[in-house]
């Protein structure tokens, strides 16, 4: 890092990640050459991470309003959805990929901390967390190191903070060997009308920094998140922040208590780009400015430079604009919680951010041009059809031989790290604190979280099968949204809105940009169909492995975090079989399709194949059907067919209750497609004898394709008369495979 102020020219701007055009624009905005501090401010605010400069044009095509939305996407720190009864739900998902790839423990921990802060900075109390993790090959030593670090980081932070981790997903593929993905989601509850905005209204109002002291960690973290990960990236370690969940817990309680005093005008957490980002976004939103004295900012060490204080991404800090004359009310609350609450400046009417250090003005920049929607650059990149699509189009199912031994095949597919229980992971997370998690004892396709003081529950899920998106970004992303909605519908809930975390490669690669553009198109179509608007989220580009001669992007991974509502919590539907001899039905039509399935990758080692069969209208009709049969109480259990196909689905229904099943496949289809194919829009239900007639009538009247597969049996799995053995033995494999990979290999 610089010790003296260097002479500013383009080479320095370039080092900070700015291009020539951007450097010229900065000079034009200021009417002069910026000093190093000012240039640093522009570089972080115009980084991909803060400015969304390469994505915003397409993000704006997504459906962003709906009858339940209380704020529009991007307007606040997180989306806000009216859930009725005077309550709203704030929720958002965010990536922390690059920090986690370098330092998995702190990277993942601060990812969790950051997303929770986004929720409680709005005045909502976080009540549930989810996460979506992508790792490389589990057999690699490096992958094991990353998994252990990430899981411990998420656990240690969330467990101490006291918010349960109620759901999520873990997916392994070689494409993530170097660049793992860590996406964290937080869900909070707030009374309608008691939220706090990230605004800086009222010139003359005091500006406070609260929470932890500012250190040198995470400087230029936002710029770092917007650059390719290379083998030298480990040298960027100071760019990774360090988390303190205990401080965050105090900050949560103190912030919510401080809001109640009425002495807060606006509040914003400090995440990427620290004081710079919070001051510029808050003032830009209010059309005001701020004067900030950096000497007043509590620091962890002596002699920090202005740009270091401004760009520090030290965690567990908030910027608060208070009501003039009521500072004592805030001070009392933060004193109670033994937290720093320091007056560092005031709101002005100049529209400019003026930072002072040792009595001198060290930076003077207008706030508006710094921010998204203000003057930050907006680009549309070129895109072109990826050449690997040729290989996908060349795939022919008829060239794949059916296995001769289906039991052995089932065992191998079922033991894939992508299909086995993630128990080794989730048992390290407190999933029950706050005593709202209804799915602990009775599992369901979505996590069900009771809302205390009401009859309601939230149904939440994260979904995305990156292999599908890779095969077809447009349809694959429609499937991701559909699967999330299907999970909520199968659990008895009504899907209401989504948040997204868009993990892609380098946007300057036209093939990557093609994936991005088409994924957004698919997402928009599916969200419009299900009336689940996009409330916000984040974009993470530059996820790729840098090899000696080339770069290889990760699979395009637009993770969907979906929120659903159950008006009556006790009406939720579980996925497990209930009684021996209940009939098992598949609702939805089978297909001769093994495209992009775990089976195809595991058994036949085929990477390029078609996206699974999918039709959005058929999917929508399935949801309406499932919603109705749950409401009419026509079924005992509901579980959707997804990764691993029918076989995995039946096993999951059976294992929880230690019941078996006896089914027949349909000879009109390839048996491997029938058992392991992942064609979409299918659900398995179990039905008691007293319900069966009514179910058949209902499905018939609604023209919904369905097949009676067989029945729930005692303790074994029987398929086409062939004995697949005891369920409990399959469960042992399911429960212990990850443990074996991670602890014993």
């Amino acid at each position: 890092m610089q010790v003296t102020e260097p002479k500013i020219d383009f080479s320095i701007a370039k080092n900070l990640g700015l291009n020539e055009e951007e450097f010229e624009k900065i000079k034009e905005i200021l009417g002069r050459t910026p000093n190093f501090t000012e240039l640093s401010i522009f570089s972080v605010m115009w980084s991909e991470h803060c400015s969304y400069k390469n994505s915003i044009t397409y993000l704006k095509t997504l459906p962003r309003d709906g009858k339940r939305l209380l704020v529009e996407a991007g307007e606040e720190n997180a989306g806000l959805v009216d859930i009725g009864g005077g309550l709203a739900c704030a929720f958002k998902i965010e990536s922390h990929n690059h920090p986690s790839a370098i330092e998995p423990y702190q990277g993942a921990a601060t990812g969790v901390g950051g997303i929770h802060r986004d929720i409680f900075t709005m005045g909502a109390r976080p009540i549930a967390a989810l996460n979506s993790l992508r790792f490389g090959n589990i057999k690699e030593k490096h992958t094991k190191h990353l998994i252990k670090g990430v899981v411990k980081g998420i656990g240690d932070y969330g467990n101490c903070f006291g918010v349960p981790t109620v759901g999520g997903e873990v997916f392994f593929n070689d494409c993530y060997n170097q660049n793992i993905l860590v996406n964290a989601m937080s869900v909070g509850i707030v009374k309608v009308g008691e939220t706090v905005s990230a605004i800086a209204d009222g010139p003359g109002n005091p500006v406070y920094i609260v929470g932890s002291a500012t250190g040198k960690d995470g400087i230029h973290g936002a710029t770092f998140a917007s650059a390719d990960l290379t083998e030298d990236s480990a040298e960027d370690l100071p760019a990774v922040q360090v988390g303190d969940p205990f401080q965050e817990k105090l900050l949560l309680e103190a912030s919510l208590e401080a809001i109640k005093t009425g002495a807060i005008v606006g509040m914003q957490d400090m995440g990427a780009a620290g004081i710079t980002c919070s001051t510029s976004e808050m003032s830009a939103k209010s059309g005001t400015g701020m004067k900030i004295d950096l000497d007043k900012v509590p620091t962890r060490e002596e002699g920090m430079k202005p740009f270091e204080i401004l760009l520090s991404e030290s965690q567990e800090r908030m910027l608060i604009v208070g009501v003039k004359g009521q500072g004592h009310l805030l001070q009392t609350v933060f004193d109670k919680w033994d937290l720093e609450c320091e007056l560092i400046g005031e709101v002005t009417d100049t529209g400019r951010l003026e930072f002072f250090h040792e009595g001198k003005k060290v930076a003077d920049v207008p706030s508006q041009p710094l921010v998204l929607g203000g003057g930050a650059p907006v680009y549309e990149r070129e895109f072109s059809r990826p050449t690997y699509f040729d290989k996908i189009e060349a795939f022919n199912i008829n060239a794949i031989n059916q296995p001769s031994d289906f039991i052995a095949t089932a065992k191998k597919v079922f033991a894939s790290p992508n299909l086995v229980s993630k128990r080794w992971v989730y048992e390290q997370y407190d999933s029950m604190v706050r005593t709202n998690t209804m799915t602990t004892n009775v599992p369901s396709d979505a996590a069900i979280v009771r809302v205390k003081g009401t009859e309601k529950a939230l149904a939440v899920t994260t979904d995305c099968n990156p292999a599908y998106i890779y095969a077809n970004p447009y349809i694959g992303t429609m499937i991701a949204v559909s699967e999330a909605a299907r999970n909520i519908v199968c659990s008895g809930g009504e899907p209401v809105a989504i948040t997204n975390c868009l993990n892609f490669g380098n946007p300057y690669n036209p093939e990557v940009y093609y994936q991005f553009v088409h994924a957004i198109k698919g997402m928009g179509e599916a969200c419009r169909k299900f009336e689940t608007p996009v409330t916000g989220g984040n974009v993470s580009f530059y996820n790729q492995s840098v090899l000696k001669e080339s770069t290889k992007p990760v699979y395009p991974t637009p993770t969907i975090g979906m929120l659903g509502i159950l008006e009556n919590a006790n009406n939720y539907m579980s996925l497990n079989f209930k009684n021996e001899n209940d009939a098992i039905y598949m609702i939805g039509a089978a297909q001769n399709d093994i495209g992009s399935s775990e089976y195809l990758r595991t058994i036949h080692e085929v990477e390029h194949s078609n996206v699974p069969h999918f039709d959005l209208d058929v999917e929508y009709k399935l949801h309406e059907t499932i919603h109705a049969i749950i409401k009419k109480n026509l079924v005992q259990s509901v579980h959707d067919i997804s990764d691993g196909g029918l076989f995995s689905c039946l096993m999951e229904c059976a294992m929880t209750s230690n019941l078996g099943f006896e089914i027949s496949t349909d000879t009109n289809f390839r048996k491997d497609a029938y058992l392991f194919g992942e064609s979409q829009s299918r659900v398995i239900v179990s039905v008691s004898a007293s319900q069966e007639g009514a179910l058949q009538v209902f499905l018939g009247e609604n023209g919904m394709p369905h097949t009676k597969l067989g029945k729930v049996a005692d303790t074994r799995a029987i398929i086409d008369g062939e004995d697949y053995g005891y369920i409990k033995d399959w469960k042992t494999v399911h429960d212990n495979t990850l443990h074996t990979h991670l602890e014993e290999a």
Binding site: V433, T435, T437, N441
Partner: protein, 237 residues
């Protein structure tokens, strides 16, 4: 009977305890801030609960800093005077650090935080929180901790046994007590104990997470019901 739930900085099961005692069990319950240095209006038949969480971040050692919170002097005096004190998870750790219960809680033998349902068997009916529990049944009650391995020297363990101070042991779903059902390497499968005077209780599992039909598990309720019944008996005497 009245309950007080102490809130240390970093406590995070305080809300759950207030909810279960107040809303579910319909008992009078008040939150107590750790900086308070007295416990006015609490009598012998009342109970002070030290809830779960990460008091002071569990930095240094779980419970090691919380024992110095101002309120702990009053809690110790209250216990010495015969009042009920019940520590759950982090609360159990604080009670051991404060010397109200013997032994310590060490890092789990597998070195990881673990959150899951486990089964417990009450070892005695001779305590206010176990008096109504059928000794042959296994209760399904979750654990969630990184430092839950109970440890004490052999003499202390022996005296716990002789004095009937072991309240709960980890067991199988069917009630079998064996090493394979020990979730953290704890001595003698111990999940909870009481003091010699039988008015201070410490346990790692969370009964407050298993007390509502909505959560499909009510096995933990009987501990609260036992305590309330015993408090009533204490008043009658």
């Amino acid at each position: 009977m009245k309950f007080g739930v102490v809130i240390f900085p970093g406590s995070n099961c305080d809300d759950d305890m207030l909810h279960v005692l107040g809303t579910v069990m319909q008992q009078e319950v008040v939150p107590l801030w750790h900086k308070e240095n007295s416990l006015p209006n609490f009598n012998k038949e009342d109970c002070i609960v030290l809830p779960g969480g990460f008091s002071y971040g569990d930095y240094l050692r779980a419970g090691a800093i919380a024992r110095f919170s101002p309120i702990m002097q009053s809690v110790i005096a209250f216990a010495n005077n015969g009042g009920y004190v019940w520590g759950i998870c982090n609360g159990f750790q604080v009670l051991c650090e404060a010397g109200l219960l013997p032994g310590v809680l060490l890092r789990n033998d597998h070195q990881k935080f673990v959150c899951k349902n486990v089964y417990l068997k009450a070892q005695t009916n001779n305590s206010a929180i176990t008096s109504k529990i059928e000794l042959s049944t296994a209760l399904k009650i979750p654990i969630a901790h990184a430092e839950g391995r109970y440890h004490a020297d052999d003499d202390t363990l022996k005296s716990l046994e002789i004095n009937d101070q072991i309240l709960f042991k980890y067991c199988s779903e069917k009630g079998e007590i064996a090493e394979q059902f020990n979730p953290n390497g704890t001595a003698m499968n111990i999940a909870g104990i009481c003091n010699k005077n039988r008015n201070v209780f410490g346990m790692m599992p969370h009964p407050e997470r298993a007390s509502e039909k909505t959560l499909s598990n009510t096995d933990g309720r009987i501990l609260f019901e036992s305590l309330v019944a015993n408090s009533a008996a204490k008043v009658t005497i």
